[in-house]
Amino acid sequence: MIRLTINGTVREVDVEPDTPLLWVIREQIGLTGTKYGCGVAACGACTVHIDGQPVRSCSLPVSEVKANQKITTIEGLSPDLTHPIQKAWLELDVPQCGYCQSGQIMAAAALLKEKPKPTDAEIAEAMSNICRCGTYNRIKAAIKRAAGIPA
């Protein structure tokens, strides 16, 4: 049994230690907001927070996560869409298909925690997630709005 703390709840899962955290979250825990896009840390669709840091969960074996580390998924970012990033995303109608957006939002939330007023270059560097629908400009604008940076 492996113990994990996900969105504030301690969970025990019976799973092979090399299983990527992404698939534990999706299949054992049953939270499907975190997405599979590539499995090789190249797209960011699977981004979650571990102790506040953005992590591509598809490439992290679950055995490397300690029981006391706090895992936050998109479902745990806020109880009611009130995280400033979610609010800005809603105001600017950012998503198209939406499949990448959980990862985008988690990456953006981690960025603002680290750098409350990021520059354009810092935004572009932190936001290396793929969006095949091409919502990048609205993502950038929404991050600035959430950070209170004039557009």
Partner: protein
Amino acid sequence: MSNAFETNRRSFLAGTVASTAGFTLGFHIPGIDSAAAQGQTPELNAWVVVKPDDTVVIRVARVEMGQGTLTGLAQLVAEELECDWKKVTTDYPTPGENLKRNRVWGNYQTAGSRGIRDSQDYVRKGGATARAMLIQAAANQWGVPVSECYTWKGVVRHRPTNRELRYGQLAEAAAKLTPPADVPLKDPKNWTIAGKSLPRLDTKSKLDGSQIYSIDHKMPGMMLAAVKICPYFDGKLKSYDASKITSMKGVKKVVKVDDTTVAVIADTWWRAKSAIDQMPIEWDKGPHAKLSSDDVTKMLVEGLSADQAFIGNQAGDAKTALASAAKVVEATYAVPHQHHATMEPMNATVVWTPEKCEVWTATQNAESALATAATAAGLPIEKCDVYRLNLGGGFGRRTAHDFVRQAVLIAKEMPGVPVKMIWSREEDMTHGYYHPVTMAKLRGALDKDGNLVGLHMRISGQSILSTINPAGLQNGRDPATFQGLNPSGTEGVFGYGVPNLLIDHAMRNPPVRPGFWRGVNNNQNAFYLESFIDELAAAAGQDPLEFRRKMMKNHPKHLAVLNAVADRVGWSKPPAPGIYRGLAQHMGYGSYVAACAEVSVNAKKEVTIHRIVAATNCGHAVNPQQIAAQIEGSFAYGLTAGLLGEITVKDGRIVEENFDTYPILKMDQMPAVESIVIPTNDFWGGVGEPTIFVATPAVFNAIAAATGKRIRKLPLGDQLAKA
């Protein structure tokens, strides 16, 4: 593309239902009203259900895949219904219900930028008819003439007495009325819901992980399947050794799916995938085991000068004009295969029993998914259905249902057990329906004053229809090859007046299966033509805007979008030092688009796109902010192909297997986009694809202006540095 899909549709129909003449709004067939059968409020007609609490359910036949169609179609219905937009929800009727009801919801195909333009008429009538019935019900209840009543935000009011009834109070009585035969539609000038930049209906659930995509679907007792499909073109599954993995934790069954595919079924997908990755598999490499991209190129190069070619557009005598020209300009271009790379890989969940087969999946055409599922299930189509779940991208890939067929065949091995099959990214990347590979040789004849008096455009390469739908070919000719180059029509008209013109296609079909990739053949046709127009302007010593304008007198709508970008960017004034501009225009899917890119190229030959101005005339603009989103997204999609992406072939298989080798444009390369939406309100055009056409040629024309170096082959990659 329209021909292809139409033919598809007809052949599908011929095989499944007897007759489908027209649409019958509000036509109740006893016993099969799905809403009533589920104990819900009866529908007003196929498109509209109003519940007692005033919630309006708008049924949507086309599918949402990010392009905003769901919201746009709901806006059109709600506009005519005059309901309260805040109370609107949507629902996807299944293709099985559609079949039972004589295709009351029409065509489900969502491709070719047709989501709105091909259904706007009948969905608006659905809303207007429902409104008329609600008014009639109120008038009946009050015993007053209909002419004394009006509607506003979900309420019918009696003008003389100010009495009112909410739609929710009237719906049950209204549903019993005979729908009026002919209801007038509103003049778009009077729209208050349609035509407005309303927020999308489906955004919130995309912000907290609650939106359920096909890959997220869960059922009690569900098993998961991973597959390996023969990676070699036309190759086969030779053998596999299941004994190596059957004892692995969670593994339930190893299944030979068909001649090319093997599957592992397990209690989780990760276990299924881990197991199949460890299973020894041997492939029969088939007839193309040595094929490489160089071989494909050789095939295409031969076609560039072949005698035989299918004609797409012809005027005057191009060959004679070229022979007697003051100056002949010639250039050869190339566009490789591309992959759709939807962010959500192909997947489907199926429950099969000897009596019925049910499928939950993400599809751009649930009717064709249903037909595929029924065939694979070995059951009559009436015993099958497809439930539509959200799509993590479509881009044309989800018009083909090879994955649905596989999922059904796998589920058949476990009768009664729900089985969800998910392709790994690697399977998805190597089993696409790729953007066709083509080349083009263009030869232009300039007279002594630098006017273009003759043009021969020879396209050589792959035909999509010859693989996807050979019935759509016209005596062997693939009409879709000439998208945007047609002499006339409403889809994609060649925008220049050239007195002697020949556009022809030498069809060369390598065994890499092609498909409809967002923008389809317009993409390369616009790249070839708009690059060459700039080359001609340069050879004539003329400004590329003026050179185009001279030839566009008979194409005022093409010209208007071009002028719009030129005005906005300030073409008449030189750009800032170090910045260079490029233009492009094209017509496709009924819409007119143009773009101007501003780029700089540094000493290391790195390109920065500073700004793109893009104009669209799509006739009617149903939701301008969503059109702007499609324009922006189209640059990301188009420039991924223009700058980065390339699917190559080596030793009879696709080389690129994941995003590490098939890069996608990211935020750091995404240009600022200023969109200009200028509808002329006299036609209906699409918006999901057209801007893609002009993305690459505008940028490449700007690169040529900046460097003097003309890039004639996609993607740009490091060609500038190497030059």
